[in-house]
Amino acid sequence: MKRVYPNKDVCIGCHICELACITAHSQSKDLILAYTVERGQNGVSSCKHVYENGPTCVALSCRHCDEPACVAACISGALQKDPETGRTVYNREKCVGCWSCLMACPYGAIARHPLEQKIVKCDLCFDRPGGPACVAACPNKALKQEER
């Protein structure tokens, strides 16, 4: 499957991927509205996080592991592996907010939703024409989606 691979050697730490992620997961699909209104109102937040260490930066999110620890830990069946697409899919309706996935994922790729007993996790922008918004927005091609 095609995954998103971050390259820390060319990441410039601009956080544009985070903004693109928020926009893609907003209702308005508008950056300014998503950031100024929806972030507070419905807690839309980025699945991607930029980490910095001095001059080095990297933008990380769910790796869609082949054998995900989050799926093993999920008590509600909200997290499952889709055998056809390879994605690690999250069903928000089933989630009870027990945070077992957050504990089990060694990649820190699962966050608590700021307002609800739900999680925030990368869905690879599966329903977005053109693929993941973070990859499309990255100005220095530090994020690539490809088969490896």
């Binding site: 971050p6 390259n7 790796r63 054998e67 620890a69 093993a72 008590i75 309706e93 060694p106 490896r148």
Partner: protein, 429 residues
């Protein structure tokens, strides 16, 4: 190839997914004693609390078994396993031939021999049926005593309280959650429960359950002489491996069913997984029964792929629990209570009682081997990484972990690259 799986919990779901990863065609037959498809067992406390309805219990979609070519025999128990003829006989008299067998029968509630414990008004809390019974009961009773201050007991107490029942917890150990938590974490959780009106008694246990002339429970006499009047008693001391079937088949059983690195039992082509299995533990290297959810799925998955011939060993279990008490989230992973006075371990703990925030890190040989988080749990998984990947943490890296928390730049460069930006040849995982 016919795979027969005895038990229909999360280990069986793991097994189906492990088998299907490597064998899309073989026949899978599941024998399940309960009469529902696999459900999220820990969700029974959410159901009892009224937080979710029964429609949210199923672990997988309605078409899951059909899609995966699984034949379900529900409401059916395995009565006998013949490891020579390679057959399982059910309680309905059917004999099923297997090529590979998985015993994933889970655990059964442990009920200690307290005088008066046998009879009416005594309940367990480990199955959907138990939850349904307690839901019906909750409108008719006023008081409940829960024996056991572990995860099951506390969740039973919380859920019954949410149903309007006045609940008292009795725990033999000096603190609740003595297994996965330490004194400070246990106290923060206990305070939350006390604040909502659940009574928590530690350092005492039930000496006798007293009954009236009709045989109904009157109350519980405690070891410290107090008498707690109650309508029902929920016994939630823990679960013990449901291993009788394996024992009778001549399979090697200690505390649980002994399994090797591929989760095969002492009988050829018979595997075991989940709460019934005594499998290898990642940190100690010993074989232990650690009845927790993620281990059950992972063991199921690893046994599944090995039954299907993949020859990939089980990586070992890691104790972990994530659980919230009235909105106070807690996580406990790995070795969190090292033997007292053992100089091989180093502990760093910070408590902010007013904010209900606690963090404890346990190191051994310059590696993180355990942690507890209460309140602020957001970096949980990032700590788990250091344990799971046994990352060396000497000098500055350890100081940073202690002072600033876990972050990905503390990882060894090679692991970082393999994980996040691998060469195409290494990317298969």
């Amino acid at each position: 190839m016919t795979y027969v799986i005895i038990g229909n919990g999360v280990a069986s779901i793991g097994a189906i997914e492990g088998i299907r990863r490597h064998d899309p065609k073989g026949q899978i037959v599941i024998i399940g004693a309960e009469d529902t498809a696999a459900y999220g067992r820990p969700l029974i406390s959410y159901l009892l609390a009224g937080k979710i309805g029964p429609e949210r219990l199923a672990l997988r979609g309605a078409d899951y078994y059909a899609k995966n070519g699984v034949e379900l025999k529900l409401g059916t128990s395995a009565a006998k396993v013949d490891t020579v003829q390679k057959t399982v006989t059910t309680d309905k008299g059917e004999t099923i031939k297997y090529d590979r067998l998985l015993i994933a029968t889970g655990g059964v509630p442990f009920v200690p021999p307290i005088p008066g414990v046998k009879g009416a008004d005594i309940y367990s809390f480990t199955t959907l049926a138990h939850a349904q019974t307690l839901i019906e009961l909750s409108s008719k009773i006023k008081r409940a005593v829960v024996i056991g201050g572990g995860l099951i007991g506390l969740k039973a107490a919380e859920s019954l309280h949410d149903r309007g029942v006045s609940v008292t917890i009795v725990e033999l150990a000096p603190r609740i959650l003595s297994g996965g938590f330490d004194e400070k974490a246990g106290k923060l959780a206990a305070n939350r429960l006390k604040k909502v009106g659940i009574e928590v008694n530690c350092g005492v246990t039930a000496k006798e359950i007293q009954r009236d002339q009709d045989g109904h429970v009157k109350g519980v006499l405690l070891t410290d002489g107090r008498f707690l009047e109650t309508d029902v008693v929920v016994v939630a001391i823990g679960v013990v491996p449901h291993s009788a079937l394996a024992k009778e088949a001549g399979i090697k059983v200690e505390r649980g069913i002994i399994v090797d690195g591929k989760l095969m039992t002492s009988a050829k082509d018979v595997y075991a997984a989940g709460d019934v299995a005594q499998a290898i533990d990642m940190l100690s290297g010993e074989h232990r029964v650690v009845p927790i959810w993620p281990n059950a799925y992972n063991q199921g998955y690893a046994s599944g792929r090995n039954m299907a011939g993949a020859k990939q060993p089980y990586m070992g279990g890691l104790p972990m629990n994530s659980i919230s008490f009235y909105g106070l989230p807690t996580i406990s992973v790995g070795t969190v209570n090292p033997p007292e006075g053992d100089k091989n371990f180093e502990i760093f703990a910070q408590l902010d009682e007013a904010k209900e925030i606690y963090r404890k890190l346990v190191f051994r040989d310059e590696k993180l081997v355990g942690y507890v988080l209460v309140g602020d749990i957001d970096k949980g998984g990032m700590y788990t990484a250091f344990i799971k990947f046994a990352m060396p943490l000497a000098g500055e890296a350890k100081d940073k972990l202690i002072n600033a928390g876990p972050e990905v730049f503390l990882w060894p460069a090679e692991l970082f690259d393999e994980t996040w930006n691998p060469e195409p040849a290494q990317a298969a995982r």
